[in-house]
């Protein structure tokens, strides 16, 4: 019996569609969230993350509808977030069918949000999402899609988040995100070793070896990626078979 390492595809959604941010081009349409969710559920994804990148009032109603449609396709856990600023908004996301809610910018601005969500729904339902960039010898937390510095140190913010009741950390390396140069294993290991809750590594995945590295060197409990799965560069089942062959405990049946 060993806790399996998790492979988690991520859907960035805007106006009910899965999109990808592309430099100089804006958003590129990737597909229908329901269809992608069904595919990942079938291919053996261990969990699905859905992020609202629209951040507008109208976008929110559409996003809740997207969560409902996606949840119907899944027999695995669903994490949802993006612009969650209040207990009510967190509750709406969970009521729509998500099992966990992820918070980022609003938690930095008002850390009590983490405590409120954890008290109401339990720590296992609260994922603290952190966008981190290397600055000299330290790691700094950024918000608003990685564009705005917060002055917070990643290690200290992770510890505060846990004290407030976060049950998992979704750790995105801004330096690696979108670069296809592999996860930042050094960052991931630094955080994973210093906290008692599971860490999900994100940003930079391209090859199966990147996943192996982040589980072994990076000590991540889970790894998240978007483009390589959407574009079918890497199938989840093939990735898991590779990892199993390397001795990483993974769940092979869907």
């Amino acid at each position: 019996m060993t806790l399996a390492r998790r492979i988690i595809p991520c859907l960035d959604v805007d106006a009910g569609r899965v999109v990808k941010g592309v430099e100089f081009e804006g958003l590129r349409d990737i597909g229908d969230p329901e269809a992608l969710a069904a595919r990942y559920n079938r291919e053996g994804a261990d969990e699905l993350v859905v992020l609202d990148i629209s951040a507008s009032r109208e976008g929110r109603a559409t996003f809740l509808d997207t969560i409902r449609r996606v949840a119907r396709q899944l027999r695995i856990p669903l994490t949802a977030g993006g612009g969650i600023r209040s207990l009510d908004q967190g509750q709406a996301v969970l009521r729509a069918g998500a099992d966990k809610v992820t918070v980022n910018t609003a938690a930095v601005e008002r850390p009590e949000l983490i405590s409120e969500l954890a008290r109401q729904f339990g720590s296992q339902a609260v994922v603290l999402s952190m966008d981190v960039k290397r600055e000299g010898g330290a790691w700094a937390v950024f918000v608003r899609g990685g564009t705005q510095a917060t002055g917070k140190d990643a290690m200290a913010w992770a510890r505060e988040g846990i004290e407030r009741g976060a049950g998992e950390i979704l750790l995105t390396s801004i330096d690696r995100d979108g670069t296809c140069s592999g996860f930042d294993c050094e960052l991931t290991a630094a955080i994973a070793k210093s906290v008692r809750i599971p860490v999900i590594a994100s940003g930079g995945a391209r090859t199966p070896r990147d996943f192996l590295d982040v589980f072994e060197r990076g000590r991540a409990e889970a790894a998240l990626a978007a483009s390589i799965f959407h574009a079918e560069i890497e199938s989840i089942l093939a990735l898991k078979k590779f990892l199993a062959g390397q001795g990483v405990p993974v769940r092979l049946s869907a």
Partner: protein, 201 residues
């Protein structure tokens, strides 16, 4: 098969409801004790804090109705926190009192492992299990919890290990319970729910 899902004001009801329907059950949400009266079986789901489920079951005679259903042999399936509340006490909230259907206490996971225990893990069967019938030995289930019933509690049918063994599946007469989330556990979880629906009083 009419299955009442106990709605005490918390919990991930939509996914439990959807999974039971997919397994062939007719479901209704029971927010009051009276609504449990004519159920063929009862599902007690749960996520969140021990305090919240204890407080929730004190409302509208839900706890009393569960007690009487238990006495009259109605099959009851506890999920996650719904398993834990079948015991009287939990480390999570030493003052609160659970249903007390099972002897023993719910304990915090050991301090040297990551907690919450979140993710997919396997279970080891200690005896013939109704809920695990037809489920492959090496199947994975989705867990998300920081507390658990000890691995040596007498009603356990299967255990899982995370720093120490804990009860993953409990079966004693009409009381059935799982620490994992069958509604989130793929095909293995769906089989557990179908097995539960096959249990009649």
């Amino acid at each position: 098969m009419k299955v009442a899902i106990v709605d005490y004001g918390a919990g991930n009801l939509p996914s439990v409801e959807r999974a039971l329907r997919a397994a062939g059950a007719e479901t209704n949400l029971a927010a009051r004790g009276a609504e449990l009266a004519d159920a063929d079986s009862i599902v007690l789901p749960g996520v969140g804090h021990f305090d919240a489920i204890v407080a929730g079951l004190q409302k509208d005679s839900l706890g009393a109705a569960l007690e009487s259903a238990h006495q009259s042999g109605v099959p009851i399936l506890g999920i996650c926190l719904g398993l834990q509340v079948m015991f009287s006490i939990s480390d999570e909230s030493p003052q609160a009192r659970g249903l007390g259907f099972l002897p023993g206490a719910v304990r915090a996971l050991p301090p040297h492992v990551k907690s919450p225990h979140i993710g997919w893990n396997q279970v080891r069967r200690l005896r013939e299990s109704v809920l695990l019938c037809g489920v492959p030995e090496d199947a994975y289930f989705y867990f998300a919890h920081s507390y658990a019933a000890p691995g040596d509690c007498e009603a356990r049918a299967a255990v899982c290990d995370h720093g120490a063994e804990f009860a993953a599946v409990i079966e004693r007469g009409n009381l059935l319970a799982v620490q994992f989330h069958p509604e989130k556990s793929g095909e293995a979880g769906a089989q557990v729910l179908r097995n539960f629906l096959g249990v009649s009083r």
